[in-house]
């Protein structure tokens, strides 16, 4: 009888531990069980990625559709090459869409926002988004305000925003 209570309480303990792990997975990390997590790869070249990091989200119309996998410097063009994995079920991004590096809130993290183009051809695995808009670097903006040059030389300073 004594051994039986020990066994029951150990069983309950094991169940409680596994239950806590399942709760951590589902409730805390938001792991969805039947998520279709196959992806395809897109590239985008930016003049300046600012403080964009790996694992940053890629959003379209505010909905997350993928993640940034890696950022590297293209040695020939001196541009930052961002490698993104996009969910396979979003397979209809028009080829004239543009990618911009946006900030969530004033101090939030950087993410890539994709604005839809009008073309009937869609991006396929391994293609590059040509129309890009760099991150707004706060220091550059402040520098321009200090020099009073905002709005005067937009053509020259295009690369910084």
């Amino acid at each position: 009888m004594r051994m039986r209570t020990v066994e029951i309480s150990v069983g309950a303990f094991l169940l409680a531990g596994l239950f806590a792990l399942v709760l951590l997975a589902l409730r805390v990390s938001g792991l969805s069980v039947n998520a279709d997590n196959t992806t395809y790869r897109l590239y985008a070249e930016f003049d300046n990625v600012g403080s964009l990091t790996k694992r940053a989200k890629v959003a379209m119309g505010g909905v997350t559709i993928g993640r940034v996998v890696d950022i590297e410097l293209d040695k020939k063009t001196y541009m930052a090459r961002v490698i993104m994995d996009i969910e396979t079920n979003v397979d209809n991004i028009p080829v004239d869409s543009s990618a911009a590096i946006l900030t969530a809130g004033l101090l939030g993290e950087k993410f890539i926002g994709i604005s839809i183009g009008g073309s009937r051809d869609f991006f396929k695995d391994g293609e590059t988004i040509d129309d890009t808009q760099s991150a707004i670097v706060l220091e550059d903006l402040i520098g321009k305000f200090l020099l009073g040059s905002v709005g005067k030389d937009d053509e020259e300073s295009n690369d910084s925003f």
Binding site: V10, F13, L14, A16, G17, A20, L24, V28, G30, K54
Partner: protein
């Protein structure tokens, strides 16, 4: 000159002693886990009994400390974040710090104090009262019969306790944040789910707790097995278990954190 050499010799002797102890600990563990099996009773029921002693009886201290740590994190996080108007991030702060660090580490420290010291004292007393040598006399390997079930029990219980600790702590944090301080529930849990990643945060925390369980139980069992069989020796061994296990957990935590999260 000769006094200086004496000091060098003392240093060398203690270094050799540490190395010898590590060697004995490794041999003990290897013999207990992989040694040739003899008649040692039914292993599963022995492990179940030990899981009861090590895991189930630690549940109360683990849940109570988990709730309080979660509540304190919620309160402190709220007080700082509300100044910047970002009190919705309390959820992610509580969850990340619990799942990545506090869950495994605090559980391991409590586990060393609650279960590790008990293991050492029990095995040490068995040695002092010559129960271990009596077992050997009747042809039962004490490493298999006494050490191995206790080791497995600690190794299994520790990750489960850490999961329970983290989960209870997060509920404690939500109790303070959502129910008491009035953070909107949706953004509390939503921000948390957005920033906590299953593989990079939950599973890494789980790996940490598995490693801590291994180290703490190993130290506890070895200190008991290696204790000087006197009452003073057992008390020293128990102290050493708690001190070494705590230091090992904290040091190992830094290394694991550097490996897991260092490149992010």
């Amino acid at each position: 000159m000769s006094r200086l050499l004496d000091h060098v010799a003392t240093l060398g002797r203690s270094g050799l002693e540490v190395l010898q102890a590590m060697g004995r600990a490794t041999i003990m563990l290897g013999m207990a886990l992989f040694g040739r099996s003899s008649s040692h009773g039914s292993m599963p029921s022995l492990v179940v009994k030990q899981i009861y002693a090590v895991g189930v009886l630690s549940l109360i201290i683990i849940t109570v400390s988990g709730v309080f740590i979660g509540m304190v994190l919620g309160l402190q996080g709220y007080n700082i974040l509300v100044r910047y108007g970002t009190e919705q991030s309390v959820g992610q702060m509580v969850a990340l710090s619990l799942v990545r660090e506090l869950g495994p580490v605090v559980t391991a420290l409590l586990f060393a104090g609650r279960a590790g010291s008990a293991l050492t004292a029990e095995i040490g007393l068995m040695k002092a009262t010559e129960q271990l040598s009596s077992l050997e006399m009747i042809g039962v390997d004490p490493l298999k019969r006494i050490i191995a079930p206790r080791f497995w029990a600690g190794f299994i219980s520790m990750p489960l306790l850490a999961c329970i600790f983290s989960m209870v702590g997060i509920f404690g944090g939500s109790m303070v944040g959502v129910d008491w301080l009035g953070i909107y529930e949706g953004s509390f849990w939503g921000n948390m789910q957005q920033s906590v990643d299953f593989w990079n945060d939950v599973v890494d925390g789980l790996i940490k707790s598995v490693m801590f369980g291994f180290v703490v139980t190993w130290i506890a069992v070895f200190q008991g097995y290696d204790a000087v069989p006197t009452s003073e020796g057992i008390s020293r061994a128990t102290t050493r278990t708690v001190v070494y296990a705590s230091l090992a957990v904290l040091g190992l935590d830094f290394i694991l954190t550097a490996v897991m999260f260092g490149d992010l």
